[in-house]
């Protein structure tokens, strides 16, 4: 059958209250079994296309354009009906599409039951069957909890299984891989491709990052501000882009991984010395060997692993936020085990956080107050000096033009990330904890945040503790790394060694997950930095 499954012509949508269209004169053709990736930043219009296909266009929005589904006449997209065509919607695990209080299993079973017009018991059986087909997928019972209590990769697998159970002709995927760790994203992408091959559905994927193109293949449409700027096979566009914007998107993706980290000269006494540290899991000591290492001033250490692997437990132990089963931690020549709460708080003044957690900043505070607070609280600076330092930090992160009395609540995740960096800059920390700083950001935002972090490190020179599941990020910022699994360090060493000669299978699995990049990418944004001698560890 040569007739395409889906053809959209000249689709334009202006949402209620919007001054300009979210998507304009958009056309696409999608064949059965084909894959089409809509790639663009936030506000590019990719979401509008997906939503228009997933549910009826709002009556108060202005929409024009036509849609033709296989076997049906062309019809206005506003009044789209698709009798006989099975369309499934696949969101990401962080998309908040499910009721936060109800069991995920119950909700997914209900959705399948309604779509397939079956009793709920049969729908559960279909879901179980679909889960079994996904390699490494969880048991059905693992989904019988509210969404917040389920790990993202488990939830992602459940959502995929629910979509597959509907045996769709067209799958609308709203970036389900976007916020997963590289390893889980790779696993889910493989499962998705395998199911696509088995069921023969067409896949329309909305992506914020170009890595998805490497994972899924197919055709790529690059969108910007509601317009198509370039389109073509993903394999071609990954290596040779015609449009400057597309080049910038792909360059932004690759810049971090290709650049070596700035190597500050390790100097002076160790900032952090750990002797015989035994971590705890749920309050109980873990059975394996104790940790010994040093982190010198200006050096960097990556704690690499999936969520729940124990990397954050180590970070919290190092900062004295959680008790340890045994061992000694010396921070800035002070044994933190003998400090009381007040003294520990004073010590923590030399620590800064930059995290991908959007709740890290107080939403009530203004931009000015957020940056000035450490200066007032820790350094008791006079007002004019506070304002000077505050303004300088905001200028460095590109927020100087934003009104200072804007609240954190009104900021985008990108702006909040930059604000965290500004707050870290004024803190002049000895140690900066960088915890998944790129989470939830699109390609451009990620490249900007990477550059700001590099700039922060080279100017302020703190030691870095980087918590990530992405070897690319670890490589960009760190010389040394620990790889975590199930609360244990399974491998450690120089990042270069971990990258080129991993010993542990889990390390290899994490490395495999980082999408391999094509060789011929246009000139890098910055020249490479000379590698400094590796940092020695105790």
């Amino acid at each position: 059958m040569n007739e395409p499954l889906l053809r959209i012509r000249d689709f334009t949508l202006t949402p209620v209250g919007a001054a300009k269209p979210a998507i304009e004169d958009f056309s696409l053709t999608l064949a059965s079994g084909g894959t089409l990736i809509l790639l663009g930043e936030t506000g590019s219009g990719k979401g509008a296309v997906l939503r228009a296909l997933a549910q009826p266009v709002s009556r108060s929005a202005r929409a024009s354009g036509t849609i033709q589904l296989r076997g049906h006449p062309e019809q206005p997209i506003r009044h789209m009906t698709a009798p006989g065509l099975r369309i499934a919607y696949l969101p990401g695990p962080h998309a908040n599409v499910l009721n936060p209080h109800a069991s995920v299993l119950s909700q997914l079973a209900l959705i399948i039951a309604r779509k397939l017009r079956q009793p709920k018991a049969s729908a559960r059986a279909e879901l179980a069957l679909a889960l079994e087909r996904l390699p490494g997928a969880p048991a059905l019972e693992a989904l019988d909890h509210p969404p917040a209590l389920i790990a993202p990769e488990v939830l992602g697998a459940g959502l995929l299984a629910a979509a597959m159970a509907q045996t769709p002709d067209l799958l609308l995927a709203d970036d389900p891989l976007g916020e997963l760790s590289p390893a889980h994203a790779r696993a889910l992408a493989s499962a998705l491709k395998a199911e696509q091959k088995r069921l023969g559905f067409a896949l329309l994927y909305s992506a914020a990052r170009a890595e998805v193109a490497n994972l899924l293949g197919g055709n790529l449409v690059v969108l910007r501000s509601g317009h198509i700027v370039e389109e073509g096979p993903a394999s071609r566009l990954a290596t040779a882009q015609s449009h400057a914007y597309t080049q910038t998107l792909f360059r932004a993706m690759s810049a971090g991984e290709r650049q070596n980290p700035d190597r500050s000269a390790a100097r002076g006494e160790p900032l952090l010395r750990v002797q015989g540290l035994q971590l705890t899991t749920r309050g109980k000591p873990t059975a394996r060997a104790k940790l010994n290492f040093e982190l010198r001033r200006g050096a960097s250490l990556a704690l690499i692993g999936e969520i729940g692997s124990g990397r954050r437990a180590l970070a919290r132990a190092l900062l004295g936020l959680d008790p340890v089963a045994g061992g000694r931690i010396v921070f800035d020549q002070v044994d933190i085990g003998v400090l009381n709460a007040t003294m520990m708080a004073r010590l923590r003044r030399r620590v800064a956080f930059v995290t991908g957690d959007d709740d890290a900043l107080d939403p009530r505070m203004t931009i000015f107050d957020t940056v000035a607070e450490p200066l007032r609280a820790h350094l008791a600076m006079p007002r004019d000096l506070v304002e000077h330092n505050r303004d300088a930090a905001l200028k460095r992160v590109g927020l100087a033009a934003s009104p200072g009395n804007r609240t954190v609540l009104s900021l985008s995740p990108f702006d909040r990330r930059r604000l965290q960096i500004a707050r870290a800059i004024v803190s002049q920390p000895l140690l900066a904890v960088i915890d998944e700083p790129l989470r939830g950001l699109d390609a451009f935002a990620q490249s900007v945040v990477r550059d700001l972090l590099r700039n922060f490190r080279s100017n302020e020179g703190p030691a870095l503790l980087v918590i990530t599941s992405d070897f690319g990020l670890a490589r960009a910022f760190c010389e040394e790394g620990f790889v975590f699994k199930d609360g244990q360090v399974v491998e450690r060493g120089a990042i270069a060694t971990l990258l080129h000669a991993p010993q542990d299978p889990h390390t290899r699995k994490l490395l495999d997950a980082v999408a391999a990049l094509p060789v011929s990418v246009p000139e890098p944004l910055k020249p490479s930095v000379e590698a400094a001698p590796p940092v020695s560890e105790a």
Binding site: A54, Y89, N96, V97, N99, H101, L110, I111, R114
Partner: protein, 296 residues
Amino acid sequence: MWRDWLLRAAQVIGSLLGALVLASLLATLSQPTHGFWPLLSVFCAKFMAALEGDFGRSAVTGARSMAAAVAAFPATLQLLTVGAVIALVIGIPLGIVLSASRALRAAAPLIEIIAAMPVFVAALALIWIAVRVLHWSDASQTSALSWTALVRSGGWNAAWQTFALPALTVGAAGAASVQLSLRRAAVRAWSAPYRNGLRMMGLGTLDIDLRYAVPEVIAALLRDAGEIALALISATAVAEWVFHRDGAAVLFLKSAAFGDWNVAAAVLFLFAIIKLVAEFLGLAASWLVAPDEGAA
């Protein structure tokens, strides 16, 4: 889960004991003493007696305080119950209508303008309308007889004319509290991101509302049962006074005025029990309606 419920039950028992302490402190005032230790001794004696349901005797009539309070309670409970029913009958539809659309939701706080009228002003206004507009009997507004006594003596019409206004006064005050609670919950439920998400995944609006949104709203209303009970008790106290009904609230007011603290303590304790029991039952019922959400 059972641990949560045991904790809540412990909280209720703790609150009841706290209410008993409060009532005992009040009852201590009926026995004037000088000095801290004598006062503490009297308090301890009162508390121990109160644990057995003994709040001493009335300083005015000499009768057992708890017996006097319990004797006056049926009339209050009658008014409270009917008022609660009216509150739900008026408040629930009002809350639903006012949360139905954005325009109505935006206009809803204007209900506050009507709610700016204190209960006693509303009661007097109702009496004026009943007597001057509906030509009801003036004397009927001050009868202290119970509903059954009114029916026996004056018939259904007299009973209706006498009982309607106090019930409506209490009901209207309760309805304001009910519709507020319902609207808060409805706005939260209607604007939750999961409604759009589930629609995109293929569920119909009716499915989503009936299975998730409506139970959440009802559960939130049930969780506010304690606050609604407080509003009803307060309105009942005023209504009994305005309409001269001999209930526990009037007994409390008279006891407080005459310094008959044993009786006041007994009545106060009984009111606290009503509020705490309503709160606990509301929590339990909300869990039954929406077990996934859990109580607040």
